[in-house]
Amino acid sequence: MPPKIEINDLTKVFVKKTGSVTALQNISMTIEDGEFVCLVGPSGCGKTTLLRILAGLEKHSAGNFKINAEQSKRPLQSMVFQEKGILPWMTVEDNVAFGLAMRKAPKDIIAKQTAYYLEKTGLTQFASLYPSELSGGMKQRVSIARAFANDPEILLMDEPFAALDEQNKFILQEELLSIWAETKKTVLFITHSIDEALMLSDRILLMSAQPGQIIQEVRIDRPRPRKIEEIRKDPELAAQFVDIWQHLQKEVQKSRT
């Protein structure tokens, strides 16, 4: 089977009045079907730009990428946005159904998929509420349910838990993993948290500060399902944390100056 995502020499340059900035330089990677990959890097390294290019929200300057589709009627990708990514004028249920409604899926499929993922994310009893009545954690559950309900080939996640408090973050990470394990979707997940990447990933890709390049690849071979307690206790992962941090430290310093 071909890899799910192939990225070859992808480069993105932003041109401004004061000159140009190379946000991404010759990014190449492949992601296998069903793999959970985290992209970790200092803020401003271009990881969000890369995700936005894959999401079709930004055009790349050079190179190419390909998302290999399994079924032609499935959407290629769906994105889980940072906080505020759900529509305030729609109820929880309509938000979860949004992708399916946009591609005019049959009514019974919409109802079925929506009910399923509302149930999965524990939102069933909140289905008719508006987002303003929800906590931050609940809102991100809506965002996750919306992406999964859309049944895309791959999922793109842009620091979905960055604005949550730590306890909520742990809970949502485990919930995300359990839904993911069931659907076997390919996920590209962006985060600046090494802990989060260790908890979630099959593979972590480290990015350098501007211009963004992939500088290191780390495999995480922990068995699943993973529990936050086990991840925290594991001495091997503690060593990997230090290793990743040492790789990133330089880059973080660089991006600060």
Binding site: G56, L57, M79, K84, L87, P88, F98, G99, A101, M102
Partner: protein, 272 residues
């Protein structure tokens, strides 16, 4: 209850007493909103009756009320109010509908915005009332000239707020629509319209207030009926009690329309 010399209080009881105090305070404050207009009216009545205020310019509220009753019985109020409301309704719609359509187009299509906004900006400061003589010459002293004057005044706040409403939609919602493959019409109905609605309704609320201001002035200048006409002719005949009745009608309908629009806002924006 004492414990090692200290008084131990029941925390629930303490908080309940505090809560009751807050409730009483809130109720008293609500009372103030009723007290202030009543107090004003009583003061007016007393000052007018005792001759501190000139009774010719400020007839006491009870006398105004009596005149109101006479005009109501004679059917004069129904006639003038009916005519004015008809003009307001038509003029309001004639201003709001194109205002919304053009405002949405300005918000959605950048070239249209660049083309139209200098015209809007240049025409907005001109009071429609200053054009009233021309409007009367062109459209006569009947309903049409009033409707056009109101429409012209209502249009601007609505068009500007509608365009601003669309432009101020958080960019992330546009990304969401794009990412989930919304078509142009889906984008319009699911993102642009609901996203712009809160600010748009503010503009309509403003337009409503302007419509009332405009109708009175327009009917004072060239009309043979309407609340503005009632005010103006009463003033000229020095029937100030009748004039005050006209003013009170305007105040009443202004308040009523505000309440109605507030209710509409609640209906249309259930997510707020």
């Amino acid at each position: 209850m004492t414990q090692s010399g200290k008084i131990v209080q029941d925390p629930v009881r303490v908080e309940r007493a505090e809560w009751k105090r807050q409730q009483t305070k809130a109720r008293l404050q609500q009372l103030l909103t009723i007290v202030s207009p009543v107090l004003l009216l009583v003061l007016w009545e007393v000052l007018s009756r005792t001759g501190v205020m000139d009774i010719r310019f400020f007839p006491p509220p009870t006398a105004i009320l009596q005149t109101f009753w006479e005009l109501l019985v004679s059917g004069a109020i129904a006639e003038h109010v009916g005519v004015s409301l008809y003009r307001i309704a038509l003029g309001f719609l004639a201003g709001v509908i194109p205002g919304i359509i053009i405002g949405l187009m300005m918000g959605l299509f950048t070239p249209i915005r660049h083309f139209v906004s200098p015209l809007v900006m240049a025409l907005m400061p001109i009071p429609t009332l200053a054009l009233l003589p021309i409007i009367i010459i062109l459209f006569g002293i009947g309903d049409l000239s009033k409707v056009i004057t109101i429409a012209g005044s209502v249009f601007f706040p609505v068009v500007i707020n509608t365009a601003a409403g669309v432009l101020n939609i958080d960019k992330i919602y546009l990304d969401v629509a794009n990412n989930y493959g919304a078509s142009k019409s889906q984008f319009f109905f699911k993102i642009a319209l609901p996203g712009a609605l809160p600010v748009m309704l503010e503009g309509i609320q403003m337009g409503q207030a302007i419509a009332l201001l405009t109708i009175v002035a327009a009917e004072m200048m060239g009309a043979t009926s309407g609340i503005g006409y009632l005010i103006w002719t009463s003033y000229k005949a020095f029937l100030l009690q009748n004039m005050f009745v006209g003013l009170i009608m305007i105040s009443f309908f202004g308040y009523l329309f505000s309440l109605l629009l507030r209710g509409l806002q609640k209906k249309l924006l259930p997510w707020r």
